[in-house]
Symmetry: C2
Subunit: 127 residues, 2 copies
DNA sequence: CTTGCCTCTGACGTCAATGTGAGGTTTTAG
DNA sequence: CTAAAACCTCACATTGACGTCAGAGGCAAG
């Protein structure tokens, strides 16, 4: 498929797809005229990329993690494997952080809820 | 306390603290000479701000959410309350997304682990 | 062949949070 | 009193993942 279709099917913009390729995260075959063509799997690939981006991973980090899923090699594997575990741990920690934030937000919300209850005897009564 | 101490105690840079103030997220008393002075609570305040920033909320959104915790008013409250619930929901959804990403990453990791197991008969054997 | 849509490369624009530096004042330590 | 350290206000620079525009070519349909 061509880039437009891939964009439509993944929800990524055409610009983004070219950017991913530029970052070495996505490959494409080129037609003689230079147009990019992608296989079906590219859809999943892009989905994974978007997930990782969404998780706050940067292009550079993803670049260091994912090459091995395409062309595993002993050399790349050792480093990448370590990085993966590191990134997994970081992501896990981040999720915990977010849960803490969620609790903090809940607290703010319930503070506000209490305040509203106290002052809601009649909204027109407010100065 | 002055801005330097607040920075040190919160882990935020002096620049960031001034930025938070500029965004209306943090207030300070000024000495006659114009220097900022903060009360103890500012530490918690900044901690909360950093949490929300860390959760991906933007200044604008935080601005819309938090004023009511300082100076609650009927008018601000209604809107802000809605936004809070919305943001809470978004954060929750984001956490779910991240958990999915974590699973995806786990999958990549275990793929890699299997690959390593297969090809680890002897690392020197590799071409 | 031409009209219309898709694609190409390349380069500059954007946005948000923060870094950084200039140029000047204030506070603190000796 | 004086020098260092901290602070002040601009204001421009940076980074990352894109948006967007320009100028040019590719490709199916009428």
């Amino acid at each position: 498929m061509r880039i437009g279709e891939l964009a439509e099917r993944t929800g990524a913009s055409v610009r983004s797809l070219r950017y991913y390729e530029e970052q070495g995260l996505l490959t494409s075959e080129r037609s003689t005229s230079g147009q990019r063509h992608y296989p079906e799997e590219a859809v999943d690939r892009v989905a994974l990329l978007r997930r990782l981006y969404g998780a706050g991973l940067t292009s550079r980090v993803i670049t260091e993690l994912l090459p091995c899923t395409y062309a595993p090699s002993i050399e790349s594997s050792d480093d990448a494997f370590e990085r993966m575990l590191t990134e997994r741990a970081k992501l896990n920690a981040h999720i915990d952080e977010l849960r803490t934030t969620l609790r903090a937000l809940d607290e703010v919300i319930s503070m506000n809820r209490r305040w509203r209850a106290e002052n809601a005897t009649d909204s027109a009564t407010a100065s």
